[in-house]
């Protein structure tokens, strides 16, 4: 990695961390995933014709699929006190009616492929096409997964207030 790229990567860490959090659903796992992602990115040259953030998302996601989705690290983290973040208040309010803990629980119910799409579009603000590129799926797939994710969370978090929501 070039000096410019490593400086750029450092500036992107908060955004990448947010993505890692969205994928894993816990800060302990998110920071562990972030560290592994950074180490992976630094271990080999990055093609200059790729956009660093999209490349980083892809590396992060692949690591998550390989190592985190099976909860291996999550289980391991229980035994690593240094990875436990006690400064996160799960009872903090996201809205007047919804706590952080409720959002995390709701996100955890989503299938992985829906959670990653929601993370990229809703949290990171990526376009469908960019998301499709990161995930290597057609953009139509992004659209349908995203709609299902939004629908399900709206129901779980009672955001639809009784309105009919169809998939």
């Amino acid at each position: 990695m070039t000096t410019t790229q490593s400086a750029q990567l450092k500036s992107m860490l908060p955004v990448l961390r947010r993505f890692a959090y969205s994928l894993t659903g816990s800060m302990a796992d998110a920071d562990d995933l972030l560290q592994n992602t950074v180490e992976k990115l630094l271990s080999k040259p990055i093609p200059e014709d790729v956009e660093l953030l999209a490349w980083s998302y892809r590396v992060c996601r692949n690591l998550w699929i390989d190592e985190y989705r099976a909860n291996k690290v999550r289980q391991a983290a229980v035994h690593k006190p240094e990875l436990q973040h006690t400064d996160i208040d799960a009872t903090s309010q996201i809205t007047a009616d919804i706590t952080l803990k409720q959002v995390e629980s709701a996100m955890a119910t989503l299938p992985d492929e829906q959670r990653e799409v929601l993370s990229l579009v809703a949290v990171q603000g990526m376009s469908y096409q960019d998301t499709a590129t990161v995930l290597s799926v057609p953009s139509g797939t992004v659209m349908s997964r995203l709609a299902r994710a939004r629908t399900k969370l709206a129901q779980i978090l009672n955001l639809d207030k009784g309105n009919e929501v169809t998939a």
């Binding site: 950074v38 093609p47 952080l100 949290v123 709609a147």
Partner: protein, 247 residues
């Protein structure tokens, strides 16, 4: 007409085509409940994003930031070292090879295959196998960066380097009538010995044209393991040719 959540979701992101956008717009204008549903879906984004921002509001752990800082420092050191060692020397990493090197990170894992045909060629080199001798002749005599005809095959040396055992090696591609391989061979005991090979898709363009990242990065993992230091520059390659690639 029934408007689905997929349409509403796409509408929310302005990702529908104009005809669909117009359709949803008209539907919303006529149906208040659609507006409520749209608000609900939109609220999901707000909630999820706010939660992520709140949860990650703490500073990035210092030990992770330090990884990036360490990388920048090592880059400065290696640049200074390389500048000192290779001043005024033009590295033979030109044209497609530049992209080849840049693409090294793209080859996450390529399974090496035992290329029976090539192994037979390699085994037959001492008994005068003509095809391999033609390939070896190119490796012996040509610098990297261009394709050369060797009988019915096109051989393109891509990179030369010293391996950790002290032997000079070359990474190259061979395109025959029915196969396209990326290979690494090292000069040992006066002969080019195969170290690794992987079968590639047949190229679409002409021999010597820029090839896909996959073809250029297929042996990255092997290179990472056996390569010692930087690739040879053109002058070093020419010296190696004159000494018959003997160290």
């Amino acid at each position: 007409m029934k408007i689905t959540d997929e349409q509403l979701s796409g509408f929310l992101d302005n990702e529908l085509d104009e005809q669909q956008m117009s359709l949803v717009r008209d539907a919303i204008a006529q149906d208040d409940t659609l507006c409520d549903r749209l608000a609900a879906l939109s609220m999901v984004d707000h909630v999820v994003k706010t939660a992520a921002e709140q949860a990650t509001n703490s500073p990035v752990p210092a030990h992770i930031e330090a990884l990036c800082d360490a990388e920048q420092e090592s880059n400065v050191v290696s640049f200074v070292e390389r500048k000192t060692q290779n001043d005024d020397q033009k590295t033979v990493v030109q044209g497609s090879n530049v992209r080849w090197l840049r693409g090294m990170a793209m080859a996450a894992s390529v399974a090496l295959v035992g290329l029976l045909g090539w192994q037979q060629l390699m085994d037959g080199q001492s008994s005068g196998n003509s095809e391999w001798q033609q390939v070896a002749a190119v490796l012996d005599s040509q610098t990297s960066g261009q394709a050369y005809q060797a009988g019915a095959q096109t051989v393109m040396p891509q990179l030369s380097f010293l391996n950790k055992d002290g032997a000079l090696c070359r990474q190259f591609t061979v395109i025959g009538t029915e196969r396209h391989d990326a290979m690494i061979a090292c000069k040992q005991a006066g002969n080019w010995q195969q170290r690794a090979a992987v079968a590639l898709d047949m190229p679409v363009g002409q021999p010597g044209e820029y090839q896909t990242a996959t073809s250029e990065t297929a042996l990255d993992n092997v290179l990472d393991e056996i390569m010692l230091g930087a690739p040879l520059n053109r002058e070093q390659e020419q010296n190696a040719i004159q000494t018959n690639w003997q160290q």
